[in-house]
């Protein structure tokens, strides 16, 4: 079972952009794609911990602002020739409100 936390209205996240949530232990970047899908991901690039929330969003990927790695928002994995991945969190939009399950991160890596 998911344990959803209410985050914010979808409107507060720019389309093709991201906002950051700070927890006690980490930063989570919440992304919104051009088709209004929402993804939550540990705000640290697997390469050199660049802040992914500041990257350019395209399709289901974000390009890290530091060294241009492309990270898949759904899986947290680096795309193309680069290898590495970062944690993701279940996220959903319900009635215009973004929810994230902060307790069940997918630790694929």
């Amino acid at each position: 079972m998911n344990d959803w936390t209410r985050i914010a209205p979808l409107d507060e996240i720019p389309r093709l952009g991201a906002r950051v949530i700070k927890t006690d232990t980490m930063e989570i970047a919440v992304f919104r794609t051009s088709s209004d899908e929402v993804f939550a991901i540990n705000n640290a690039c697997p390469h050199k911990q660049g802040p992914l929330s500041e990257g350019i969003v395209h399709g289901h990927a974000v390009t890290c602002p530091l060294h241009n790695w492309n990270i898949d928002l759904a899986s947290g994995e680096a795309l193309g020739p680069d290898e590495g991945c970062t944690n993701t969190f279940p996220a959903k939009v319900d009635d215009g409100i973004v929810y994230i399950d902060l307790k069940h991160s997918a630790r694929a890596c």
Binding site: T5, E12, H58, G59
Partner: protein, 812 residues
């Protein structure tokens, strides 16, 4: 059910077309391939090195049988197609096999022309075309001694060289009085002949073969003048003729070759043709580069994309005889009214000639030193005006705008769209891109990923130099390669043109009009498009923050720990005690861990947290500062020297001019960063001659310099002109900037841009065309009305607050 595609001819052109097709549409067709030879597709142009013993057959196989299996292609080797039934849409082979098709691709190639003289059918008389010919020559070399090669062209000389390497005594018989007359002028041909004679090759020039002597096997060759020589082997290499028998028999319109239109379609719309069997706009090609261009076009149409056109090729040639460097391209024999530039160094065996018409290269012949052949060929094809480099062009590209980096710089100085591999049409940018993105380290890696150096191999040295220079360096956002990025086929120039001519005023319109392949573009193309739209439609286009790099979105430079740096603008580098006090107060208030003075005479505050930026900007704004744009592809700073007020050498009012220039230009977005400087005298303390736009004041006026760079590759500016008033300085500066803003590629600094378009072009727009200059300047000033809004002030007042604040989550 899938449609059926049959390829007749398992050679380089046909299989390349399949490779391109599989890239576009891997599952569109069931593909069947027929080849008359018993081998899978091999690299025919490498037969010469095989003959010379420098390569083996295995080395030159391009597509192994596994490749055909992997792609589900049915391959029949050693089974020639003997008939096409176009009504029933099927082909029939020698062995009696019948296969139906929906689309047919003819790539039957050519056959060597055998001179119709008596005795030409004797044993030991060969062409030089396929592996079987090579096998026979190698066999002959083991058993016999004397070889005669008829034909002193490219192929004949390569054959002769190979036979000589196999220990034969070789005489080349040539009808003309110079070798390779279709590629070389007389001086180059004579250097070549001397060099080959030194290796032991013999020549009979102006000799017309009249008869092949001998019983069953050849024993000699007789000439029209009655003389004769002994021969155990005769290789005829006097030319090729397109192999059109099959097409003719099927009633497809042929002239010298199978006639095709610009989409590589024959007169039967279901039948395409590529390669040496083809006649396009009256021309049959026998070199590999055009064939590959044709293959790309045919594949595009077979894949039903239907937008590519083949419009013919300008070709260049290199001779593949190890140790002999030779290059030729275009119209290398001067016609009436042409000029020639010649460099001749007989002792070094170096000869270079350029044929020039209207200040443009029309042809090139090089012998001994062919390093710059690629560059000349590019200048030739692009029709570049070379008037500014006439004095040094023969010394090569590294001498034009010399940066003192020596030989390695020759490859480094090629522009990204310079073609490295002429056979496969691979540009420098693509190779570097592949090296960087795929982590390639060896020549073979590059061959596998890009195809560069995988055909004739004569560019292998250049590719290795690129490898050396690329792998040795770190990441570099390389500008101006051919396509903007993987999201599109279009080049920067095409995109700029479409935005302007079709009045595309938002990103969606560009994506739709130019058929972008991805829904939102990517981190490479979106910033470029955002810039182009902004530069072209300053009043209408709504800047898209989501398509800007974080530095330009957060109006500060992101540092490696995720903090930002803040640089307030100080016009002309001038400041007051109050300014410095305000900056000091801000630095203390926000606990800035480090401050320093920048190279552009500004003060940098490092280590600022993103959340603190708007409040800090408010304090700076209140003290009268605006953003220094130290983070942007934008106008950065105007650097000045001490100036006439204090310096005993100073002329004009240089510092005040610096301030005026900065007031004119601040806030302007550019293709890349843009720096200015004003020096008060020729001692040039502000280093104006390594800036994008530099002014050096002299007693009688102002020297304007452009296109300098002090970064990775130092480039000294070109002198644009000298003017007499400050008003003129502002006008010329604005016009130059606007030309750069409108025409350079995104991420292209002025230095490479000036080299690409030439100083002559910039002079023609900014200097010679007064009306045009004023119009450029006016457009710049209109753009500035919208650009000179301080982004810090806007954000200090609350704009885009979400950008700087984390989301608050209840209970966290």
């Amino acid at each position: 059910m899938k449609e059926r595609l049959v390829l007749v001819g398992n050679g380089m052109a046909g299989v390349r077309a399949l490779e391109e097709l599989l890239k576009y549409a891997p599952d569109l067709y069931d593909i069947t391939v027929f080849g008359a030879e018993p081998y899978p597709n091999y690299n025919r142009i490498m037969l010469s090195p095989v003959l010379a013993g420098e390569k083996t057959i295995d080395d030159i196989i391009l597509n192994s049988r596994d490749w055909y299996d992997e792609h589900g292609i049915e391959l029949h080797t050693g089974d020639a197609v003997v008939a096409i039934d176009r009504a029933a849409r099927k082909v029939k082979t020698e062995s009696g096999r019948e296969v139906g098709y929906d689309r047919l691709l003819l790539a039957t190639g050519s056959e060597p022309f055998i001179i119709p003289v008596p005795g030409a059918d004797k044993d030991g008389v060969l062409g030089f075309r396929d592996i079987a010919d090579v096998d026979q020559m190698l066999e002959a070399a083991r058993r016999y001694k004397k070889a005669v090669v008829i034909g002193g062209g490219l192929l004949g000389l390569e054959a002769a060289n190979g036979l000589m390497k196999n220990g034969m005594d070789v005489t080349v018989v040539h009808l003309m009085d110079i070798l390779m007359e279709r590629q070389l002028d007389r001086p180059a041909a004579e250097l070549l002949k001397a060099s080959l004679e030194e290796r032991g090759m013999k020549f009979l020039m102006e000799a017309q073969t009249s008869e092949i002597l001998g019983e069953d096997r050849v024993s000699g060759v007789r000439f029209a003048d009655g003389s004769s020589i002994d021969a155990d082997l005769v290789v005829m290499a006097v030319g090729i003729r397109p192999n059109i028998a099959l097409a003719e028999q099927a009633g497809i319109h042929c002239e010298r070759g199978v006639v095709v239109n610009d989409t590589m379609q024959t007169f039967d719309p279901r039948v395409y043709a590529v390669g040496e069997c083809v006649q396009h706009r009256g021309v049959c090609y026998g070199l590999v580069a055009p064939l590959f261009e044709q293959a790309k076009v045919a594949a595009n149409h077979l894949a039903r994309i239907g937008i590519a056109r083949y419009e013919g090729s300008v070709t260049s040639t290199k001779l593949k005889v190890t140790g002999i460097d030779l290059f030729s391209a275009g119209e290398f024999n001067e016609g009436e009214g042409d000029e020639t530039l010649v460099l001749q160094d007989p002792a070094q065996g170096v000869y270079k000639k350029l044929v020039i018409r209207d200040n443009r290269i029309k042809g090139a012949v090089m012998y001994g030193d062919t390093m710059d052949g690629t560059w000349y060929f590019q200048l030739l094809r692009e029709g570049t005006d070379i008037s500014d480099m006439r004095a040094t062009i023969l010394f090569g590209q590294h001498d034009v705008g010399d940066a003192g980096h020596g030989d390695a710089a020759r490859v480094a100085s090629l522009s990204d769209d310079a073609e490295i591999c002429g056979c496969n049409g691979v540009c420098k940018g693509e190779i570097i891109d592949a090296i960087q993105t795929k982590g390639l380290f060896t020549l073979d890696d590059v061959k596998a990923h890009t195809k560069a150096a995988s055909s004739c191999g004569s560019c292998a040295g250049l590719v290795e130099a690129l490898l050396a220079s690329t792998v040795g360096e770190g990441y570099d956002a390389t500008p101006s390669k051919k396509a903007v990025c993987g999201c599109t086929e279009h080049s920067h120039d095409e995109v700029i043109q479409a935005i302007r001519e079709h009045e595309l005023k938002d990103m969606r319109a560009v994506f739709d009009f130019l058929d972008w392949k991805t829904p939102d573009g990517c981190a490479t193309c979106r910033p470029a498009l955002n810039y182009y739209l902004l530069a072209n439609w300053p009043a209408e286009y709504q800047d898209d923050a989501r398509s800007r790099f974080i530095n330009e979105r957060a109006h500060g430079n992101i540092q490696k720990d995720g903090t930002y740096s803040v640089v307030p603008r100080m016009f002309g580098g001038l400041c007051t005690p109050a300014d410095l006090r305000a900056i000091a107060d801000v630095a203390e208030k926000y606990q800035v861990p480090e401050m320093k003075v920048t190279g552009g005479q500004r003060i940098d505050l490092f280590g600022v947290k993103k959340e603190d930026l708007p409040a800090m900007w408010k304090d700076l704004t209140d003290a009268g500062f605006v953003s220094g744009h130290a983070y942007g592809k934008a106008m950065r700073t105007v650097k000045t020297c001490a100036g006439k007020t204090w310096c005993r050498f100073g002329t004009q009012n240089s510092t005040a001019l610096g301030v005026r220039l900065e007031e004119l230009t601040w806030g302007s977005w550019m293709p890349h960063k843009f720096k200015l400087a004003v020096s008060g005298c020729p001692r040039n303390c502000a280093e104006a001659t390594i800036k994008d736009f530099g002014v050096v004041c002299v007693d009688s006026g102002y020297e304007l310099h452009i296109g300098g760079n002090g970064g990775i590759k130092v480039r000294v500016t070109d002198l644009l002109c000298k003017v007499e008033s400050e008003e003129e300085v502002l006008e010329y500066c604005g016009a130059f900037i606007q030309l750069y803003r409108e025409e350079a590629h995104y991420l292209e600094r002025t230095a490479p841009w000036v080299e690409r378009v030439s100083l002559g072009y910039i002079k023609s727009r900014v200097l010679d065309d007064e009306e045009g200059r004023k119009a450029l300047y006016e457009r710049f000033r209109i753009g500035q009305r919208f650009a000179q809004v301080d982004p810090w002030k806007q954000r200090a007042e609350g704009a885009e607050a979400y950008e700087f604040q984390p989301l608050e989550v209840a209970g966290q």
